[in-house]
């Protein structure tokens, strides 16, 4: 969106920045001005509120099964229909949202934090730091995920960790397994960025390393981090459902969006009972879209190259 910009406005803008605002404030202001990003944020907040408070208004409870009411299409009693055990889909989707939103966001935050930091450090220092971090990354990539997860599930069970609390381990595990690709992506960007002119300037100014990395290099990698994060949120939400089978995630009957979709994994449900999979699928879609809108807004807000939007 290269809009022609009035020259004097631009100058005024820059003057204001210099005089009054910290970079964070600029970022917040830029973000707030990005209509789509704000919409994304509002959607996410509304979704979270519905998932947290919605179940309180539901006439049904989570353990309540009623086989005589199974597989009902949406109707006045069950707004989104019922599943094969006669449970209310609406209630389940809301309860599932609590789990899935938390898992998606926290797990992604963990892997982004680790991946971006390690990637930047490796790319910036190169030499030993690069060798060590990237070889560790190699090892992580080469490890067989499934046996590790089976083992972890068994260990948690032996330690008698309360099933309800295993969800925290789950987030940690998804986060820990997901950092490698982002680390390599960030590193590749840093490798080229550090050779550019503006970095020679920081060198000349005698800036400290962490300032070079976090203030000057990292902001340039934000776009790629955002793409990786949006893809990660969707991935984590779906991954959660399968980790549950190994004693690492939620325990049935606790629903999650992932396990609700997975439950409808045959052609007949797919064809005859769309209400089983459309609601959770739609929820994931909305979440992913909202996060991406926010991400685009953040990118524009934090991008040092975009001075006046």
């Amino acid at each position: 969106m290269d809009q022609p910009v009035n020259r004097t406005e631009q100058l005024q803008e820059q003057l204001k920045i210099v005089k009054a605002e910290s970079p964070w404030k600029i970022a917040i202001r830029r973000f707030a001005r990005n209509r789509l990003a704000v919409i994304g944020l509002v959607i996410l907040v509304i979704m979270s509120l519905i998932c947290v408070f919605g179940p309180l208004f539901s006439p049904y409870t989570i353990n309540e099964t009623d086989v005589s009411n199974k597989n009902q299409a949406p109707n006045a009693d069950y707004w989104l229909g019922t599943d094969k055990l006669g449970r209310d889909i609406l209630l389940r989707v809301m309860l599932a949202g609590r789990i899935s939103l938390t898992v998606g966001l926290v797990a992604t935050a963990i892997s982004v934090a680790i991946g971006a930091t390690l990637g930047a450090v490796a790319g910036f220092y190169r030499k030993y730091a690069d060798t060590i971090i990237m070889r560790i990354a190699d090892i992580f990539l080469a490890l067989p995920t499934l046996p590790i997860l089976i083992t972890l599930g068994a260990i948690l069970s032996d330690l008698k960790v309360e099933p309800g609390k295993r969800i925290y381990f789950l987030m940690l595990i998804i986060g820990l397994l997901g950092w490698v690709s982002l680390a390599r992506l960030v590193r590749s960007q840093i490798l080229t960025l550090r050779e550019q002119e503006f970095m020679q300037a920081t060198e000349a100014l005698g800036l400290r390393d962490n300032r070079k990395i976090f203030r000057h290099l990292m902001p340039n990698t934000i776009p790629i981090i955002i793409v990786s994060a949006t893809l990660g949120v969707a991935g984590a939400i779906i991954t959660e459902s399968t980790l549950s089978f190994l004693g690492l995630g939620v325990v049935p009957p606790t629903p999650s969006w992932g396990n609700m979709i997975t439950a409808a994994n045959n052609l007949i449900d797919f064809r005859k009972r769309p209400w089983l999979w459309i609601p959770p699928g739609l929820c994931i879609l909305i979440t992913v879209t909202a996060i991406n809108l926010i991400g685009d807004g953040l990118r524009d807000a934090l991008d040092p190259k975009m001075k006046n939007r």
Partner: protein, 320 residues
Amino acid sequence: MSQYIIRRLLQMIPTLIGISIIVFAISQMVPGDYITASQNPNMTAERADQLRAIYGLDKPPVQQYFIWVKNMLTGNLGDSFQHKMPVTEVINTYVWNSFIIAFVTMILSWTIAAFVGVFSAQFQYSFFDKVVTLLVFLLMSLPSFFIGLLAIKYIALDLKLFPTGGMTTAGLNAGGFAYIKDVVEHMFLPVVVMTTLTVGGLTRYFRTGMLEVIRQDYIRTARAKGLQERTVIFKHAFRNALLPAITLLGFELPGLFGGAMILERVFAWPGIGQIYLASINMRDYPLMLGFTMFLAVLTLLGNLISDILYGVADPRIRLK
């Protein structure tokens, strides 16, 4: 450059040793072994001991590890417990079936992603860009088996355009061209689904990479020089948007041989993914460990190749 490659290849040795130790340790920690996993209802304690002795599972773990490594160095990955034949033979039987669809998928998805990504970057926030973005998110929101079901339902069952599953028509005694045609027809659905799944994420990376570069000064300079837009985009900008792509390309190498577990199952494709998965579930250690190490080597090579390619794409990156 060649010095760098040699050093990296040498680094692979300790890395692989590390991986082999961790992988082996995991196999020791995973609950159960082949004898318990096979759930023979008539298994007596004596028979279980006999079998463990035959498979060498009764030896101390450290000894087992060194036997395994020693055999591996001579190219012997052992015999699969389930398949009763050498692991290398099992892998060789199935891996090429996986490779062929993964390879076609890679070519298709990278080509599509490059074009779509570049165009939606060039026309950011256009209708085209928005449709593509939404489609990408839609595909990300559904698990892979779901997309597979969708394809079977509409393309194979309703439209009857392509076969529902398998790699060949049952009882087909054709050779040569007719055989190839049959396989290509059977490949269609899995390839379409796998491409749909991979192309989404890739498109986002290409789009972002291009968006970044398009804003940079040298692109403005190129435009100011009066170069054609197409030249600007493909010769100058695209090349520099390649770095993330190269990173991702490195990850493709193990992916080409790793198989696609869910989709192979959905489409009854005789690939290695399902075999590998069964080896994990059945605790068929020789096959599980052997294939894991095979993938580990490919992973390391893939990352090495992408590191080398960085320097080709952007000569400013000096490999040391």
